[in-house]
Symmetry: C2
């Protein structure tokens, strides 16, 4: 029966991906504590026990769901700050659900907090390298914090003044502010 179009392994893989996709959506919407295995299973249309069977624990499911390819570190020449900002996440467009899930939980789930802090610290270091002057690290941290704040306000909290604004307009309006931090 291994020659059938959908082998056992293939079916398993698809079910697993369906569970992960459902998990990402619900984790992103409710955060770690308030999402239940039951809800994830229901959304993925599988039995709750199957989720446990595949992932072992809620924590493990969360880790798998929010695992995203991280930004490759800079190699060789330093890029201009603008480009770095874009690459780091200044797109301001809709973020991947894995990222939203992580951010949603970062204030109440210690592991998520640790993960996000590490990621942001890394971005600060990259930016600080590109800036290079005296208090570059502080200014880089404030740039990253700014983007964090705008993302939270826009994507997670839904400030009314930002709800209608397009990502491009937000990025455009924000640019002089970030430039002021980068230039010192």
């Amino acid at each position: 029966m291994e020659g059938t179009p959908t082998s056992r392994a293939e079916r398993r893989r698809r079910t697993e991906e369906r569970i992960l996709s459902a998990a990402r959506a619900i984790f992103a919407e409710r955060g770690f504590q308030r999402t239940t295995i039951r809800a994830v299973a229901a959304a993925a249309e599988v039995d709750p026990a199957l989720v446990m069977q595949y992932f072992g624990s809620k924590q493990e499911l969360f880790e798998q769901a929010v695992r995203i390819p991280s930004i490759p570190p800079l190699d060789g020449e330093l890029e201009p700050v603008e480009e770095l900002l874009g690459r780091i996440g200044m797109k301001m467009g809709p973020l991947p659900q894995a990222t939203l899930a992580m951010m949603r939980s970062m204030l109440t789930h210690p592991d998520a907090a640790e993960e996000v802090r590490g990621k942001l610290d890394g971005q600060v270091a990259q930016l600080a390298d590109a800036i290079g002057s005296g208090d570059a690290e502080l200014r880089a941290a404030l740039m990253v914090s700014t983007m964090l704040g705008v993302t939270i306000a826009h994507q997670l909290l839904g400030l009314t003044a930002l709800r209608g604004a397009s990502p491009e307009r937000i990025a455009e309006t924000l640019r002089p502010s970030l430039r002021a931090l980068a230039d010192g």
Copy 2:
């Protein structure tokens, strides 16, 4: 026995305040879902049932604990943007625990989200009035979002680059960035 230095009513008032203080601290540290009535009671050195007796529900306890005097709205003349920023929260110093408790829960507790969104919307409106030009509302929203992000990164997430920085230095370094947004 009503003439004793500590009347029944007075004792009750003090116990209630001790519970609220403990609740603020734990809500600020762990967020709404992860704080238990039992933990609050233990910290306040009272029986868990007493907390329920006084406040009726965990939700009610939370609401009482995070209730803080809100910023009085502007009356009459518009203030300079700088002053408004200071009054709105740009002190960057340690925030009251009630505020931290609210912020800690704002991404995972719908009521907290609603409350924070309302408060921030109000600040945006005040700032937008003070700015006054075409896209004032968007720029005001980005200023508020910036302060939100820096506060989160500094007080709740603990970015390493910000951990050592004094509130004054952070405020000073951030000023040109906010000015760029205010001036357009």
